[in-house]
Amino acid sequence: MSQANDAAGPAASNMKPVQVKLVLLGEAAVGKSSLVLRFVNDEFQLNKEPTIGAAFLTQKCRLEDKVIKFEIWDTAGQERFHSLAPMYYRNAQAAVIVYDVTKASSLEKAKSWVKELQRQANPNIVIALTGNKVDLVANRKSRTHNDGEVDEDGEQDAQEIDEDEEDDEDYAITRQVPTEEASAYAQESGLLFFETSAKNGQGVAEVFTEIAKKIPLEHILSSSRGARAGGVNGSNGRVDLQNGANGQRLGGQQEKGGCAC
């Protein structure tokens, strides 16, 4: 997991990275930007300012013998910006839909995003449902899922988390979305499911590695090669404005917004 987050190593450096366009969606202040910041720079900012419009970041990671370059569109969470979203999720190969485990309403919003993507986005899109801010809930049960880690780093992380937890107890915020509920929903809708903490980094890299594993990389590689030769938009981060985003509403008309691709 740790090496997946590294920039491409020497062995992979001469390989052309596979470009994967990924979009982050979810209610305001669930931690979308923080999640990306953790993934891209391994940083965390308390009180990170809200995203307006959208932000774009890239990060390479290595999966087995391939190098994947994630082109990440981090979108604004406020409902009013909803109608901008199709501009960003169009042609995306992956989406991370984020909710806040301490806020039940954010899961509802996440579900509506899932519906919208399944209806309007690229039909092969890989969607990951991610419950963020697990560091806030002192519920130990929810933390045991990353048991696969035995390396030193992992152990140390686990210890630190445990210490944090003890400090947290006075301040524990009740979890509003049980892991089981979200996980069951994800399974029935065919989504990947994770719980993460952008604050302490728990589970973040996993989200992206699992997405990378599930994406049909070979397919993208061949199609993007073809697309490049043909000069049509391929899988790069460009946003296609010509095909419909032009006249799109920024506000209102949330349901009608977007076009079928």
Binding site: E49, P50, I52, G53, F56, L241, L250, G251
Partner: protein
């Protein structure tokens, strides 16, 4: 009357003596553990809370000037200061006593002090503040003997001491009721201060300490206080039943009980018996405890004891504020009290012109040397600001005075203690026992030296080349007279209109925003009383006409802002102008185009925006407390808004921001809260932190001008039009860059929404925003578009090399470092040479106004006018294209038509206001109606789709006339036409 006439921070002091400045310093509680869980740090709470203290202004209170956060949890609180205090009087008395002099003070003196102390306390109480640290040394006296209470905010700003490691108040003066009392904000016990007043007055009157001198041990004192409290629950008056064993000084006790000074020998007190009795009753009431007996300062002030004082001072009723209300009723009258400043300036001038040292000059003139002549009348906040500019550093001052000397670091290292093997552990750290002595509280004040400040200011003004200094950075001068300048033409019209009597200030919106010609409108030109005053003030100012434009050297803003002499002059001028606002609005606008003194920025902005009337009332009339659906989003955003800023980070900053946003939502029913609005409001809040109402009024003026309709529920049309115009303007000014960006599909929708929706507040930190907005506020409403282009141009080379990913990478996440001043300059230069019609937005008022003006020139005749001017007979809907530079945009020439956009979109008539405007417009357009009764095809607004398809802007015929001489026109109409 004048909007800012009652603002204490603009007021000159009537006294001729300069008040001193002093600082106290203490450390806030270290609550690192809590901070990890989102509890704001104590320093931040204190910092935010103490801002309010700066707004307090009363003749009997020392002014709070600033709170500075030092390293770690240290805070420096800067206050007005006087060397004389009751404590000092007492101690000189004590030394005199040994020589057999009189003890204590006369009753009339005591009465006057008592009245003033209580007046100060009443004012504090009405503002929700309990003093709680009233001691002899906190009651200061100025040079004319007026009482000035000090340190009155310490209790309030530290949440009753709960945010610091020390307890607040001296137990000798502390009411027994305060023992074990917890601080609950809003429910403060003001009666505790009255006890302190009683003790203070007793001591001053009798010249004896309240408590027995041999019993000053703290433990005993505290137990005495407890004993008094117990006693007061049992008896009606603890004073009458007080046993010897309670440590009250017997002399004091006997006076309090009897009201007579039996033991006093001789004629030291000639007061009438009844007066003495009266005073003793007053003191007994001050010192009474228990719920039924305790008094607040207001009640005590109405005591019979003060009858003679009030009579002598002509006070019949306690002072109230309705008189102040009158100030707002007629806002357009010049302020009635102009400070006598000109005399001061004359003196200053003399000093400068004679080129003498200040001291020599004063001696030569035979004047009494007054060390702080030019400073004594300045508002203290400005004195402190200038002191800092002159290199003053509060923390360094403390160190120079030998304070804050810490325990050497080596002694703070954790001690490792070996524990005997028999006990369970091995070695352990002992950390808690060592504390840095610098962290301990000291109530010593550190006086800030002001002696040399005046000399420094004069020296700075007197430095060579300063004559040019003040004028040499007029951004709004046009460097090349041959250069095409679209602002000049429109400005001419505007100025002539503005010169109509009275219209310059009553027409609060636009006029004067369009670059007045400095040649015609210099500060030397009298424009009512205001300009006469300022021309007298500004020693370095000369009419611009005398200075050749091209030889001017630009002094960067950052240097001007740090220049002591320059800032002194600017502050003096703006203070005067602000006091006379709104009469002086035109002048403020003019001078603001050069620069704005940072200290007065909040009010200057308000003046530029044209805030008038009783804004306090307007703000308080809106409901800011009922829950609304947007609350949730506001709650989420406020704690994330510009948190690097101390004010925005503080809990009181969060509260204020929430109130402000809620008020905005309430006041603008047709608009909605979009994320980003919080960022837009932040500059106004931080500049007017103690004046939410003013901040709100600024926002209400600002948003309609620069972000009109950007916060509509459905703003897509507004924002897409804005971005389309932005893209066109970029093509106009930098075709190469524009076509490259278009080629890599780096479109404004992907990066510039947050730029324009928040007018750059989302991408720049506040210190940069202040400078950026300084210019945007005095510029045309299209200026932000050019700022956007200027930003792109600063990264031109990089962008031209970039593919999409790299290009967007430049502006994503953390915004790159930018030279704001250069950016503004570029933007203004572009704005100057841009045909105004290319920046027209269908929702923008200024554009509408211009279109209206153009169309009212006679729609039917317009074509003919154009034709005549050109010597051609072509109708004005001719095809043409502007070629600018090596413009690849000429490839788009086919779609470039000089098309009319006079008619605002018909479908945009969402609101009644729009409808009304349109009615008026179409009324004026009667002649312009097409043959089918509809609108001519060239008058129809462009759809956003069309705008997005075209790379370059279309130009209105009115601009075309002027552009023609410098543009290559290609007629691409088919032969048949």
């Amino acid at each position: 009357m004048a909007t800012f006439a009652t603002c204490p921070d603009l007021h000159r002091h009537p006294s001729t003596h300069l008040a001193g400045l002093a600082a106290i310093s203490f450390c806030a509680k270290d609550n690192v553990d809590d901070e990890l869980h989102g509890v704001p740090p104590a320093t931040s709470y204190i910092f935010g809370q103490s801002q309010f203290l700066k707004s307090l202004s009363h003749p009997n209170l020392c002014e709070y000037l600033d709170v500075i956060k030092g390293k770690r949890d240290r805070l420096f609180v800067i206050q007005e200061h006087y060397n004389n205090s009751l404590g000092l009087i007492r101690s000189t008395q004590e030394s005199d006593e040994k020589e057999g002099a009189l003890k204590g003070q006369g009753l009339s003196q005591i009465r006057s002090w008592a009245a003033q102390i209580l007046d100060g306390l009443v004012y504090l109480n009405t503002h929700g503040i309990a003093h709680r640290t009233l001691t002899l040394s906190n009651v200061l006296l100025n040079e004319s003997g007026t009482i000035k209470l000090s340190n009155h905010g310490l209790y309030n700003m530290t949440k009753g001491g709960s945010l610091v490691q020390f307890s607040i108040g001296d137990p000798h003066y502390l009411s027994p009721n305060t023992l074990g009392q917890n601080y609950t904000s809003g429910l403060q016990d003001y009666s505790a201060d009255v006890w302190s007043v009683g003790v203070v007055l007793t001591e001053m009157f009798l010249g004896e300490s309240f408590w027995r001198k041999d019993r000053l041990d703290l433990d005993e004192l505290i137990s005495s206080l407890f004993a008094i409290r117990r006693l007061s629950t049992k008896s009606r008056s603890w004073i009458l039943d007080c046993p010897e064993s309670i440590g009250v000084n017997p002399v004091v006790l006997s006076f309090l009980q009897s009201g007579s000074l039996a033991h006093q020998e001789g004629a030291s007190f000639k007061e009438e018996e009844s007066e003495l009795q009266n005073f003793a009753t007053f003191l007994r009431e001050c010192l009474s405890l228990g719920e039924s007996n305790s008094r607040e300062a207001g009640q005590m002030r109405r005591h019979d004891f003060f009858k003679s004082y009030d009579l002598a001072h002509g006070i019949s009723e306690p002072l109230s504020e309705p008189a102040l209300k009158l100030w707002h009723e007629k806002p357009y009258i010049q302020s009635s009290f102009l400070p006598d400043y000109e005399g001061e300036v004359e003196r200053l001038r003399k000093v400068i012109s004679e080129g003498k040292d200040l001291a020599d000059d004063l001696e030569a003139d035979g004047q009494v040397p007054n060390p702080c002549g030019i400073l004594s009348k300045l508002p203290l906040s400005q004195v402190f600001y200038l002191w800092k500019l002159a290199g003053g550093d509060v923390e360094a001052q403390f160190r120079r005075n030998g304070r804050l000397v810490g325990t050497p670091a080596i002694q703070l290292l954790p001690k490792v203690v070996q524990i005997a093997e028999s006990s369970a552990g091995g070695s352990r750290e002992e950390r808690s026992s060592v504390r840095d002595i610098a962290d301990l509280f000291s109530d010593m004040t550190c006086v800030l030296p002001l002696e040399n400040l005046e000399a420094e200011i004069l020296k700075s003004i007197h430095e060579p080349n300063k004559d040019q200094f003040s004028w040499d950075t007029d951004y709004f001068l046009f460097s090349d007279p041959d250069e095409m300048n679209f602002l000049q033409g429109t400005m001419g019209e505007n100025m002539s209109k503005g010169k109509g009597a009275g219209s310059s200030s009553s027409n609060s919106g636009e006029d004067g925003f369009l670059y007045p010609d400095s040649m015609r409108f210099t500060p030397g030109t009298p424009n009512g009383a205001a300009s006469k005053l300022s021309s007298g003030l500004a020693t370095g100012f000369q009419p611009l006409a005398q200075q050749p434009t091209k030889t001017r050297v630009k002094v960067p803003l950052s240097i001007r802002e740090k220049d002591l002499g320059y800032q002194y002059q600017r502050l003096a001028m703006f203070t005067d102008l602000l006091l006379q606002y709104p009469a002086s609005r035109a002048e403020i606008l003019h001078h603001s185009k050069i620069d704005i003194p940072p200290l007065l920025r909040g009010k200057v902005w308000a003046a530029i925006l044209g805030v008038v009337g009783d804004y306090q009332q307007v703000y308080s009339d809106f409901d800011k407390y009922t829950e609304k659906s947007t609350d949730h989003q506001i709650e989420l955003d406020v704690p994330r808004c510009h948190q690097y800023n101390q004010l925005m980070f503080s809990p009181s900053g969060h509260e204020k921001m929430k109130r402000l946003l809620k008020c905005w939502v309430e006041a603008n029913e047709h608009l909605v809260y979009w994320q980003g609005l919080d960022s837009c409001c932040a500059p106004f809040l931080t500049l007017n932190f103690n004046n939410e109402a003013l901040a709100f009024s600024c926002i209400q003026k600002f948003l309609p001008k620069y972000l009109k309709d950007m916060f509509l529920h459905d703003n897509s049309k507004v924002i897409h039009e804005y971005l389309a115009v932005f893209r066109h303007l970029l093509s106009y000014h930098d075709p190469e860059l524009s076509s490259h960006l278009d080629h890599i599909r780096f479109i404004p929708q992907l990066y510039a929404i947050s730029w324009f929706m928040t007018l750059f507040t989302h991408i720049f930190p506040l210190d940069k925003i202040y400078h950026l907005w300084d210019k945007i506020l005095v510029g045309p409403s299209s200026l932000p578009l050019f700022v956007g282009i200027a930003i792109l141009q600063q990264f031109r080379q990089e962008l031209l090399r970039s593919e999409f990913n790299e290009a967007i990478g430049i502006f994503s996440e953390s915004f790159p470092e930018m030279d704001i001043e250069k950016c503004i300059e570029t933007a203004l230069a572009m704005c100057r040479v841009t045909p105004p019609s290319t920046c027209w937005l269908s929702y923008d008022q200024e554009s509408r106004k211009m279109r209206r003006q153009l169309s009212s020139g006679g729609e039917g005749g317009a074509g003919a006018t154009v034709g005549a001017a050109n010597g051609e007979t072509m109708p004005f809907s001719q095809n043409g294209s502007l070629v600018h530079g090596e413009a690849p945009s000429s490839t788009n020439a086919t779609s470039n038509k000089t098309t009319d956009q006079q008619q605002p979109q018909q479908e945009s008539s969402r609101r009644s206001r729009d409808l009304e405007l349109e009615k008026r417009l179409s009324g004026g357009l009667g002649l312009g109606q097409g043959p089918h009764g509809g609108v001519n095809w060239w008058e129809e607004p462009l759809s956003i789709e069309t705008m997005n398809e075209e790379l370059a802007p279309r130009i209105h015929r009115s601009d075309f006339v002027r552009l023609r001489q410098q543009a290559l026109v290609i007629d691409i109409r088919p032969e048949s036409e």
